[in-house]
Structures are given as C-alpha cells and as structure tokens.
Symmetry: C2
Amino acid sequence: MTVPELRRDPVGGQWVIIAAERARRPMDFRLAPPGSQPAEDCPFCPGNEAATPPEIFALRDEAGWKLRVVPNRFPVLTVEGALHKRGEGIYDAISGVGAHEVIIESPQHVTSLTALSEERISEVLWTYKARLQDLKRDRRLVYGLLFKNVGERAGATLSHTHSQLIATPVVPIRVQNEIDRCARYHDFRGRCLLCDIVTQELASGARVAMESARFVALEPFAARSPFETHLVPKLHLSHYEALEDAWMPELAAVLRATMRKIEKALNRPAYNYLIHTAPLNAAPMEEYHWHLEIIPRIEGVAGFEWGTGFFVNSVPPEDAARYLRDL
Amino acid sequence: MTVPELRRDPVGGQWVIIAAERARRPMDFRLAPPGSQPAEDCPFCPGNEAATPPEIFALRDEAGWKLRVVPNRFPVLTVEGALHKRGEGIYDAISGVGAHEVIIESPQHVTSLTALSEERISEVLWTYKARLQDLKRDRRLVYGLLFKNVGERAGATLSHTHSQLIATPVVPIRVQNEIDRCARYHDFRGRCLLCDIVTQELASGARVAMESARFVALEPFAARSPFETHLVPKLHLSHYEALEDAWMPELAAVLRATMRKIEKALNRPAYNYLIHTAPLNAAPMEEYHWHLEIIPRIEGVAGFEWGTGFFVNSVPPEDAARYLRDL
C-alpha cells in the first residue's frame, strides 16, 4: 500500500487526499454508492468483529460490548510514518499521516442514532471527546473531524449506525476560514461571533428549533439547504473535547430530539452531521466556538454551488424552524 | 412572487440565495432530481419556443435559430428591483437582484456539447462573452458565473444541451477566496499564480492532458475528483469576456477534444463545468487569470468533504492525465 499524499491547491487553498490505494486502476471508480448490505453480512454486528481491524476502544457491560471504535478498513490516511512536508515547485504536499476511525454506536443493527436511548447517545458523545483527547497526544495531528454520513445520498456505505473520525496534519480550509472570520469579528467587536449569534437568535426566537438549559438548536440565518440545523452550546467553549462529562446527557437529549424532528419532517432523509471545533493543538480560543452542523441531503449539489460556494435554498430557515418547533 | 434574498453566513462567509418561491411549502422538496424528459416535450426544441420566457439573444441562419439565450423559467435571482443592502443585527442580507439566463446551444436535441461542431461550440463560447459584456453594463451586477450541468448527478433537470449564466450582486466566496490567494501570491512573488502554474505544468508535462498554441488542459495538482480538468489560457487574462474573438475557434477545439476524451474515459459521466473569471466590475487584474473547470461527478460528496472542504480523490492526477493523453 502506498502512503496517501495530502496536496494543497494553490489557487483555492483546499487540501485533497490523493488516496490511490483506494482504486486499483484509473478506471476502477465507484460509479454510484453501493447499496446497503443486508444485516446478516454487516461487519459492525456482534459476531462479525473479525471483519474490522482490531479494536482501539470499547465500552462494555455484562451483555458484551455497547460501543466499539475501530480503524477504518479503507482508511484515507494512515497512522504509520513520519510527517514529511515537501514542495514541488509552487505546490505544497504532506505525507498522508493521520487517523481514520469508525465509532460503531451500538451492537444492534439500527440505522439511526435516534433508535438509541439518550443514555447510549450520551456515551457516543462522550466517546467523541475521549478519542479527540487521545489523538491530541500525537503531535503530528492538528485537526480532528467527527462526522456522520447517513443514507446513500450522504455518502454512507454501511447502514449500521456509526460515526467517523478523521484526524489530519493540517487544518481543513473551511474550518480555517471560519476561524479566520471569527478572529476578525473578535478583533473588531471584542466578542465571540458564535456567542453573539446565540444571543441574537434566542432574543428573536424566529430560527430556534429547540433549546435546553445549555444548548440551542437553530436554523442558521443563511442555511445552505432546507432544514440545515446547528447545535450550539450557549456558553463559550472552543474545543468540543473540553466539554464537561456532566453536560453529555443534556447534549444527547437535544441531539436526539432535534434529529427525531428532522427525521419526521423530511421522512428520514439522508443527512450528514459534523462537529466544527478548534484545532487539536490550539490553546483554548476566545474567538472560536464549537458547534455541530446537521445537513439533510435532500437536494443535490449542482455546478453553481460547487463552483462558487454560493448555495440556493428553497426553504427559508424561519419556516423550517417554525415547522420543527411545532412537531 | 416574492423577491429572493441573498444572505451571508457570518461564520463561513458564503452567500445563500433564499429562493422561497421555488417551493410552495416547506415540505414541497425535490427529493431526487427529476428524470430527463422525453425529447418531444423538450422546452428547448424548435417549435416549443413559447415554453421559455421571451428570447434575450439569438444567433440565426437561413434555417432558423442556431442558439438562443432566454431567462431561466425558474430564476434564482430576478432582474427587477433596486439593490437593497440591509443588516439584521449581526447578519448581512441583499435583495435578490441578478440575472439567471439559459444558453440553448443548439436547436438539435443533443445531450452533449461534443455532438456539436467546433464552429458551433465556438459560437457558444462567443455568446458567453457577449452576455457577460451586456450584463456588465448593469452596475448592480458584480459577478457573472457561467456553468453547465450535465446529467442528473450534476444537477441537470433538462437534457437538451445548454449552459446557464447567473449574475449576482456579490462576488461568490470561492471566487473571492481564489482572488485573495492569487493577490497574496502576486504580492509575494510579483507574478500571477496561474501563469506560474501553466509554466510549471508545461515544463513537467506530467499533468497535461492536451495543449494547443494558446490553451492547456491540465489535471490540477490537487484535483478534487478523478479526472477534474482545467482549461487555462497560456497568456495572462483576468476576464473571460476580454478574450479575443479570433481565439474562440481554438478554445472550442480544445474544449471539444478534452470533453470527448473525458466522455470516453468515464463512459459519458455526469459533469459540471464552470468558468472562474474576474468580477464584472473590476479593471483588468494582474493577479487573477480566468480558467474553465471541468468536474466529472462520479463520486458523491460526503460529510467529510462538505464539512471541511477537504476532498478525497482516488485517482492521482498524473494517472488521469496520462490516460487522457493516450486516448
């Protein structure tokens, strides 16, 4: 297996993982996402543990494992090897060192997080924190992205409920861009932009889908797609992994209730969720504020969106928020 | 019909068109792109001219029209109304003033640009220029994005070969980001980044798919997807609409030959192409250089890509370039 390479586009600034070992020949593409496999062949179900690489972490009770973390069988980055940065004329490249883990959220073959109890979801959210804290000790790793793909349209290839964690030796451009914008806002106004958004949204209420003592689920002012929803902690915190254990049950309750509303509103859509948090190697930041973005994938991404980062959304977020509140 | 609104996300910086009139109710989504309509119902075929809004521009010969430009029947922006910028607390919004045009490239019901002769493609490329020059006179419009969606996976809803032009009152974030990065490079090194890329790529040859006297088709160093291909003019030029008419036949020949190779390599994939050019209202820029990006849509965009702008590509661009050269 050749080590993958990270390359940065000098014009757009985005990084790309050139992962040649995922396809044997140039023609060997996945022309459409594979369909869901039947449950009896599921590599995430109990009894099939040998189908995954050896366990990194697990939670167990007397009945067996409740949650497992394993390396991705087809990792986009590999944990072995030195971090080597090189130039190629005007181009920048880095060896593809990183981690690619799968969090198997339940031994039951359920396809939605919402089929789990709040207590189990709380353990999943706690595991996210524990994995970030562990990976943080590897000084080669700069960023940890936690995400979930549900449904073929959202890029899922296995239906058994799971999340993924990719740790990279660079900060992804969208996150860096958010951090830069938040830093400019903080320079100019002396406050955290996300804190100000929470304050303004709670005062108006028009785009709030639900709230608890410490968290709010809101439809962003410039939602990129119908029913895009962000979960934001009300108190300032730059790093997800700094969240107190005592808050996990509340976050789990808000996440579960929000996802249930979205599943009901859109009849169990394909979706992605992901956590935007500060870089692993950064000290606590006054200007950045972690949040979880939920993006239902009910419309495709056409050339205009791809080419410009300019999205068209046919559902005003105020309408979506009202609809979710009323459910 | 309510006027659409442009909203900017304060954290990410991207603009979103909230186009509520495209969906009647929050639940009224397009859950999957509609299939291709049969040719006899095609609103772009001769005889069905009444199915489109009145013509903005056309090229004709003795046999009738060869090419038509019409307003999009379901525009994401509208040309009527004053440009009104407003704040909503910390948020920025602009009334959705702009243009959304469709370039019907042929009276024949063909589904690929490559079915047209080089001469006809040259007329299409000339029309792009003419439309940008015309829209430039409207001082409310700041950017003109020309793009093409082919195939359902790429967001196409009609199969009859056509392109689209969306003119907006703001510069899209991805283009602004490219301009900013190119300006930083120009500050630091005193040369245009794209000019340097062309020089380095022609010297190496490894990522060149084809070239002519004035243009090069190359696989970018950090290609985001297999067989992503950029057409770049060898001579510096910031604005597409400043391209000389005499160069159009050559650009048409390179575009047609490149697209034919990609169609052959990937068995007629869905794809988007789009032109990145300098803002309509900018003077000629030393630091920016227009180019045309072709993005085959053979893999979906999953949560990781969406959330980070970090792409995974399973085909090294050097392999793709070699394959295209050998075709």
